[in-house]
């Protein structure tokens, strides 16, 4: 058991660090949840991909670097430590791409992945519906067969960044007579500016308008944009969900970097005499380190040919609670300034805590609520009996 990086890994880290230092925008980009910020972040994706840093773990032929899982973790650590911008392409990169690698045709991969890597096409996830959140398999939007494709009808909800994104991927009921709710679903992709699509932006808790509802009225999708077999969408979707909760959605670099910023804030603002805040800062440091080491152990397991299954639910609950704890502690540390928005004149220069806090509040809700994750942990990892759910 060791935590030593190879010379090649150290070199990869140094290369990433140097590149980031030379290319990170001089002043922070506007929020990617606004129209202006979305455009700026799209340009940043282009900069990243020009030197093949946007999707390091992908094969080189799709714009990646064939990076190992450990190299990917290293890249992410450097990325967050450097304070680089948020990733507007993350739905596509973290959710759609792994599904295409597993279930997509070579034609789909060749057509979709490079444009995703460069930020030319930004993807939104259209899974949830007003009546179907946790119980996703109860979804009602339909895909109806036509001569050379499908017609989509229904309504999707809570789609992150869909107000400004280009295309969406989602699940639709294609066989209303299937015997079980999660059978007869088809996974497909559609343009957000297609005829019949209405995008209604919805302000998030912070009022930012990139979140959206989608209304679909006879939207045509060609067969080429079905992922996997028609009727077998659930299976493809679930491999995506595993990715979302598991390693790829929240790499530890994000939290170790935030814990370091929090420690610096504590030194500047509080000092060692306030032991209550000190203990909370220490907990944030300890928990981000735990998450990092837990991830190294998982990465080692994957590198040795193993896999992570229901364990990804442990991850999801842990990082979402850690994220809130980090941000709450920072706001409490700031005393009266803790209520200031990041745009306020007196907000700390090393800012982002208020925005980060608002965003962290959603962590226990999206990517499968933490209650659903706790069910999975109890039933699949501890072997407790299934409850009434499904």
């Amino acid at each position: 058991m060791d935590l030593d990086f190879t010379a090649a890994e150290d070199a990869f880290r140094a290369e990433a660090r140097d590149w980031l230092a030379a290319h990170i925008p001089a002043s922070p980009l506007p929020s990617l949840e606004t129209a202006e910020g979305f455009a700026a972040h799209r340009a940043w994706e282009r900069t990243l991909s020009a030197d093949r840093w946007s999707v390091v773990s992908w094969p080189a032929r799709h714009g990646g670097r064939d990076a190992s899982i450990l190299q990917w973790l290293i890249f992410e650590e450097e990325y967050f430590a450097a304070g680089a911008p948020g990733r507007v392409s993350q739905n596509g990169i973290n959710l759609l791409a792994p599904t295409l690698f597993e279930h997509g045709t070579p034609e789909q991969c060749g057509r979709i992945l490079p444009a995703m890597a460069s930020g030319e096409v930004i993807w939104a996830q259209a899974w949830s519906e007003p009546e179907s959140g946790s119980d996703l398999a109860s979804l009602r939007s339909t895909a109806t067969r036509t001569a050379d494709g499908w017609l989509l009808n229904g309504q999707k909800a809570w789609s992150s960044r869909a107000a400004f994104a280009d295309r969406a991927f989602g699940l639709f009921r294609s066989d209303p007579d299937a015997d079980r709710p999660h059978r007869g679903l088809t996974y497909l992709m559609f343009p957000l500016d297609a005829d019949g699509v209405t995008v209604r932006p919805v302000g998030r808790l912070d009022g930012k308008p990139a979140f959206a509802e989608l209304f679909l009225d006879d939207v045509f999708v060609p067969d080429a944009d079905v992922i996997g077999e028609p009727g077998c969408g659930w299976q493809a979707a679930m491999s995506t969900a595993g990715n979302e909760r598991g390693l790829t959605l929240r790499s530890p670099g994000r939290f170790t970097a935030a814990a370091e910023r929090l420690t610096a804030l504590w030194r500047a603002e509080a000092g060692p005499d306030d032991t209550t805040l000190r203990d909370r800062v220490a907990d944030a440091v300890i928990r981000s380190r735990a998450y990092q080491l837990f991830t190294y152990a998982n990465a080692s397991r994957i590198a040795a040919g193993g896999s992570i299954g229901a364990e990804s639910s442990l991850n999801k609950v842990f990082w979402s609670e850690l994220d809130i704890g980090l941000h709450e502690t920072a706001l409490d540390l700031l005393g009266p300034r803790g209520e200031l928005s990041d745009e306020a004149a007196d907000a700390p220069a090393e800012g982002g805590w208020a925005d980060g806090y608002i965003f962290s509040l959603a962590g226990p809700i999206y990517a499968g609520t933490n209650e659903i994750q706790r069910d999975i942990i109890a039933e699949r990892l501890l072997g407790l009996p299934k409850g009434r759910r499904s």
Binding site: M1, A282, Y296, A304, Q373
Partner: protein, 338 residues
Amino acid sequence: MKFLLDDEQAEFGRTLDRMLTSAGAPAAVRAWGGGDTGPGRALWKRIADAGVFALAVPEEYEGMGPLPVELAVSFIELGRHAVPGPLVETVAAAVLLGGPAECLDTSAAQRWLPRLASGQAMASLAMPAGGPYALDMDTADVTFVVGQGETELHTASGHGTVQPSIDPARRLAVPHIAGGVPLVSGADVGAATRTAADWAAFATAAQALGVGLALVERTVAYAKQRTQFSTTIGAFQAVKHRLADALIGLEFARPLVHGAAVALAGKSPDAGAEVAAAKVAAGDAAYAAARTALQLHGAIGYTAEYDLSLWIRKARALRSAWGSPSACRARVLAAPGG
């Protein structure tokens, strides 16, 4: 990087688990708490024969160590089986006498280390970093004492009143120094003491993690068979979610314990902070597991005759031993690496 136990290390843990299961550790714990240390000493010998104490003793003194990763594996099992006695103290004493032997007087090392490694001697230990008490001094064969100022190492000459702990299998006493044998003095004692204190906190963290794992395992088994309202209580979501949270706490403490082992093995300048982080996380997780275990067992969990009590009370005691949560948190932030 390979941050995983290798096959041999994992098998070592399984072997200890099998041995401790067949030895019927709970009976030895109860006897120990009642003042009959015979079964506990017999168990101690088997643990020593399996090589556990040798892991902390350098090779030149008939040990195999120091091997902190293997030690973590062992102490998790010792905690899982609630093994009584000054386990942590014996390991820390071995580190104190053996690690910096280059700067300390080797005669004490020569005299004691082979006996600690083989299980012939059970050592207790008191150092300023661990508070005024030594564990199980009335049973231990020797108690080492580091005086205030950390410049002198003695053996104790005796002890004050033996005081019960929240965990009936632990007894605490203040050692007497006057009349004890002085072993070493000088500035180097300080460095050796700090290293030994790190190992004590580390072994305590691993032991606490094991205690927490046992609590969850036992509670899961209970929740699968206890029926109320015509259903097994393990099917109730409120029950499931408490157990899921207990597991999350433990599974994220585990890599910190392993990380501390790697830091100690590499003599990293951050080792103290890594150990402190592991102690906080494992202590908190084990304690939360104890609260959950008690709640989900209901009244039977609150009875001393039911074995669960052995772990519930140990979880609380280990939180305070060898570094309080607050002291460890301060240590985490005082680290060179931040």
